[in-house]
């Protein structure tokens, strides 16, 4: 098993932070400040690893540490940075009205599992981390909402997913990947990934979670790269047509459903389902272009959706829910909140000059080669998602002159949002090095017994 030190150390740092918060028993404001500091330090550690990766890896190889690298290489190279940045945004913008010190502990734990998942290509470890994150989420939701409703919905879906994923990994480990064991194992993994990504028909937990759970916790769970890492992990066969159909339907239906939602939270949860579907389409297609596009779209989604959801949560905590029947907002009063919501949301849906556009372009270009119908479906989904984002920008942040005295972004919030926007916009303008260039050589090629797509992937990469 190959392990990437940077994300792993960052995850350990976050667990230390969670322990520190549990020990010190701070009030909500101080807990947020401490959590922001821990998350920022973890992100800084990952970022520092980027320029040092080559140097340290050579040194490690010299002392026989071939199974240890500084940063993940290949597809997931920038995923820890995106996950860490999403976590920083989630913590820095978390309103203390809705986030208790206990919530911040859970946020750090869930974020740590997300980062740790990027540190290894071992499916069993990824599934274990998924189970840990789900347990932390369930603990918070149950304490806050009781055992029924969204908490139960969440628990059922995640338990189903984790169980299937564990089953799939076990079957693939003990059976012949090219025989029936491979088929059963792959099917179980695909069903598990469907539940984790929130694809149809296992998507019902997403909107309940976005509506009722503390947004910081929701964000770190939704943007955790568990499902993409699992689908691209060592020994997992290429998903093939089954996931492709489910993902395409999710992308299209999620996008269209976003247009008829009565409030902003449900609108963005529909966008979440749609973008997850788009990303899953890319992974299921399994060509170098689509997988690169899927990973890049996921990274843009992680950062952008984290920002958009947190800005929404922050705004709602200051002046009430954003709904179709609401009075709107005063753009003049909160211009930075409004602009941040718009730009981060547009990055999620692949607007030009953002990082999301690069991912969307690669996905659409890649899917076109296999099916023009699928490409058109993705184009429609992308357009619908963009319409949803802009609709809630206009509905929630403009349209009225008076205001309730709500403040705009605070300094802490502004710096976190600035970091996210800088990555999305500068990364969108110069995406050259950000485009994943192939599977992680350390994790080995995709296993035998996968579909013909795998061969195409290998051939394409060899070129």
């Amino acid at each position: 098993m190959t392990v990437s030190l940077g994300p792993l150390l960052a995850a350990c740092l976050l667990l230390l932070g969670a322990g520190d918060l549990a020990r010190r028993r701070l009030d909500a404001r101080r807990a947020r400040a401490a959590a922001t500091a821990w998350t920022g330090t973890a992100l800084a550690m990952i970022v520092i690893c980027v320029p040092l990766a080559g140097l340290v890896d050579d040194a490690l190889a010299g002392v026989g540490g071939e199974t240890v690298t500084t940063l993940t290489t290949g597809w997931a190279r920038w995923t820890p940075v995106a996950t860490g940045l999403a976590g920083l945004v989630a913590v820095a913008l978390a309103p203390v009205r809705t986030h208790t010190p206990r919530t911040f502990i859970h946020v750090l734990v869930v974020l740590a599992t997300g980062l740790a998942a990027t540190a290894t290509g071992e499916p069993a470890v990824i599934v274990a981390l998924w189970a840990l994150a789900s347990a932390a989420m369930w603990h918070d939701l149950r304490h806050r909402l009781g055992s029924r409703g969204p908490a139960r919905l969440f628990a059922l879906h995640q338990a189903f997913g984790v169980t299937l994923a564990a089953l799939g990994v076990m079957v693939l480990a003990i059976g012949d990947a090219s025989g029936w064991a491979g088929t059963i194992g792959a099917a179980a993994i695909i069903a598990a990934a469907t539940a984790r990504l929130g694809l149809l028909p296992l998507h019902l937990w997403v909107s309940g979670l976005v509506e009722s759970a503390p947004m910081g916790l929701v964000v770190v769970f939704l943007t955790g790269p568990t499902a993409p890492m699992l689908l691209l992990a060592d020994g997992i066969p290429a998903p093939g047509t089954g996931l492709l159909v489910v993902a395409a339907v999710s992308a299209l239906l999620g996008g269209l459903l976003g247009l008829v939602q009565p409030d902003a939270r449900r609108g963005l949860s529909a966008v979440t389902v749609s973008v997850s579907g788009i990303v899953a389409c890319g992974i299921a297609e399994a060509s170098p272009t689509t997988v690169a596009g899927a990973i890049l779209a996921w990274q843009a989604y992680a950062i952008g959706m984290a920002g958009a959801l947190m800005v929404l949560s922050t705004t709602e905590a200051r002046r009430g829910p954003i709904t179709l029947t609401g009075a709107g907002g005063s753009f003049a009063r909160t211009p930075k909140l409004a602009v941040a919501f718009l730009l981060l949301g547009l990055a999620v849906v692949g607007f030009p000059a953002t990082l999301g556009f690069v991912g969307e372009d690669l996905l659409i270009e890649g899917t076109r080669e296999s099916s023009s119908l699928l490409m058109v479906a993705l184009a429609v989904a992308t357009a619908a998602n963009g319409a949803t984002v802009v609709r809630w920008f206009f509905t929630g942040f403009t349209g009225r002159r008076d205001h309730a005295g709500e403040p705009d972004l605070t300094t802490r919030e502004q710096w976190a949002v600035t970091a996210a926007l800088a990555v999305l916009l500068v990364g969108g303008l110069t995406p050259g090095r950000l485009v994943p260039d192939g599977p992680n050589p350390a994790f080995g090629p995709r296993s035998a017994g996968s579909s013909a797509h795998t061969d195409a992937t290998a051939a394409g990469h060899a070129q």
């Binding site: 909402l145 969204p150 509506e211 029947t325 009063r333 690069v358």
Partner: protein, 528 residues
């Protein structure tokens, strides 16, 4: 290949100069956007003069650069200057390349667009003086200029798409410029939704073209049979760089129709024309530049740029002609009953754009270009003068010594008397297009809402909630782990014993962060 210069940043000295001149119209406005956006984001307050100066310098330089390119094309007798800027991003089997083209189609458009934007920028410094959104206007105007120059100078449809989207976004945001009123906001959203729906055509068309023709890069037109210029037939002047045409007629027709869909949205052709008169809610200078001069003409520009595709697909040409004529007829009838000058001008603009589209469909490319440029100049001037309409009319009447005669009587006489009431009703209802579109979309929306409702019920059942307990968003419970938080609205609802005040034990999703419901006495007037 005809007389084309293909160069890049590392080319010869002459090629390098041409590259810089061709990059300037795109890079300078983009840099202007970046400078203004960063300053606004960090709250840097500079003077109005500084914002105007930035726009003036940017578009003044763009005018000079495009003029120099035009002179270079004429002097060197080249058909086009083709700059391969570089690869933006790539995977093993796909590369996205920045590719710009200067030719006899793009240069007049780029030059006139930069000139008009610069003039509008200068005029707006007085018109919007001390307006709260002054800097936002200049930022969006610069963003619009970036998008337009990208569309016009694009060397591939992929680059066109980037500019196309920037134009759409800046257009929607400028329509909603007066964001404190719900009307402009609603109309900005409507424009954006129309753009977004129709832009699927451009995105899908571009991707399909890449698959069927192998590339979306513009290619040099075929060599003429005689020399250039002065010795060629007049139709050879229409041989500007074109998109490659798919070998299959069916593929070519599908791609052409998808591009027509994009044009319908951007240029407000029927049946998607309803957003244009509503778009006049924006500031007058932006209305002039967007809906009188440049934005509405980007559709015809795209048709001109891709006319090789339509030349190969007679069915698509017929569609273009029919849409153009239908738009012209519809707009000229509806425009005659408009009671405000900006709506009347919007329909007048729509009429001309419809005619231009029909001309292009009929293959009259060289007629379409002066028609576009002339219409852009005249219409933007008319819209700019429209706030002074009554003043101008009084001046004119005083000078004439009598009231102005009623114009257009000859057209009214052409219509039989028994048709006139119907036409009048048609015009008052704006051709029933809004109703028709609503009727078209309503079943889809109902179906989606039914699916959404079914999902909620399923979530309630699986989650263990009583059926239908998902709360109305206007009556939300807030159940927080923090016992110190108290929400007055929730407390009141709880005291009344309503569902909204009850805890979420019924498993209905309790709203996180429902926040203050902002009671009326808490609302402070702006600036308090």
């Amino acid at each position: 290949m005809r007389h084309a210069l293909t160069t890049n940043l590392s080319g010869s000295a002459y090629g390098g100069v041409m590259t810089v001149l061709l990059l300037a119209p795109v890079v300078l406005p983009a840099a202007g956007v970046a400078v203004q956006a960063v300053a606004l984001w960090f709250g840097h307050h500079w003077s109005e003069r500084a914002a105007v100066t930035i726009v003036a310098i940017v578009f003044g330089t763009v005018v000079l650069a495009t003029a120099a390119l035009g002179v270079a094309l004429l002097v060197t007798r080249r058909d086009m200057i083709d700059v391969q800027v570089g690869t933006w991003f790539a995977t093993p089997d796909h590369a996205w390349r920045w590719h710009l083209v200067a030719d006899r189609l793009s240069i007049p458009f780029a030059l006139s667009a930069a000139t008009l934007i610069g003039l509008i920028g200068a005029l707006s410094s007085r018109y919007l003086h001390r307006e709260p959104g002054f800097f936002r206007f200049y930022l969006l105007l610069t963003l619009f200029g970036t998008g337009v120059e990208l569309v016009v100078l694009a060397g591939s449809l992929a680059v066109v798409f980037v500019g196309w989207e920037l134009v759409g976004m800046s257009s929607a945001l400028l329509i909603a410029f007066f964001h404190e009123r719900p009307g402009p906001v609603r109309h900005g959203l409507r424009a954006f939704l129309t753009y977004r729906a129709c832009d699927v055509g451009l995105l899908a068309g571009t991707a399909l073209l890449a698959g069927t023709a192998g590339s979306v890069d513009l290619v040099s037109p075929p060599a003429p049979t005689t020399g250039w210029p002065g010795q060629v037939g007049w139709m050879d002047w229409a041989d500007w760089a074109q998109v490659p045409v798919p070998a299959s007629a069916v593929s070519a027709t599908i791609v052409a129709l998808l591009l027509v869909l994009a044009v319908v949205g951007k240029s407000a052709l029927v049946p998607a024309s309803g957003w244009l008169p509503r778009a006049m809610e924006g500031p007058t200078p932006s209305s002039a530049i967007f809906y009188g001069a440049i934005s509405v003409h980007l559709g015809p520009y795209l048709l001109l740029r891709t006319h090789a595709l339509f030349d190969a697909t007679p069915a698509a040409r017929v569609v273009v002609v029919l849409i153009g004529l239908a738009t012209a007829l519809h707009a000229t009838v509806v425009g005659r009953v408009q009671s405000d000058i900006k709506s009347a001008l919007a329909y007048a603009s729509m009429t001309q754009v419809g005619l231009i589209v029909a001309e292009i469909g009929l293959g009259l490319y060289l007629l379409a270009i002066p028609h576009i440029l002339g219409h852009a100049a005249v219409r933007s001037a008319q819209i700019l003068r429209s706030p002074s309409l009554l003043h101008d009319r009084h001046h004119l009447e005083q000078a004439m010594g009598r009231t102005l005669p009623h114009a257009g009587r000859h057209l009214e006489r052409l219509v039989p008397a028994r048709w006139q009431p119907r036409l009048y009703r048609y015009a008052l209802e704006r051709g029933h297009l809004d109703v028709w579109l609503r009727d078209l979309c309503a079943p889809i929306a109902r179906l989606l809402r039914a699916i959404d409702h079914g999902q909620r019920r399923a979530a309630d059942r699986i989650g263990g909630a009583r059926s239908g307990t998902t709360p109305d968003v206007a009556a939300l419970a807030l159940t927080l782990g923090n016992p110190t938080i108290s929400i007055p609205a929730v407390r009141r609802a709880a005291a009344r014993g309503t569902a909204a005040g009850s805890p979420a034990s019924g498993s209905a999703p309790a709203r996180e962060g429902a926040g203050r419901n902002a009671p009326a006495h808490d609302i402070a007037p702006r600036g308090r």
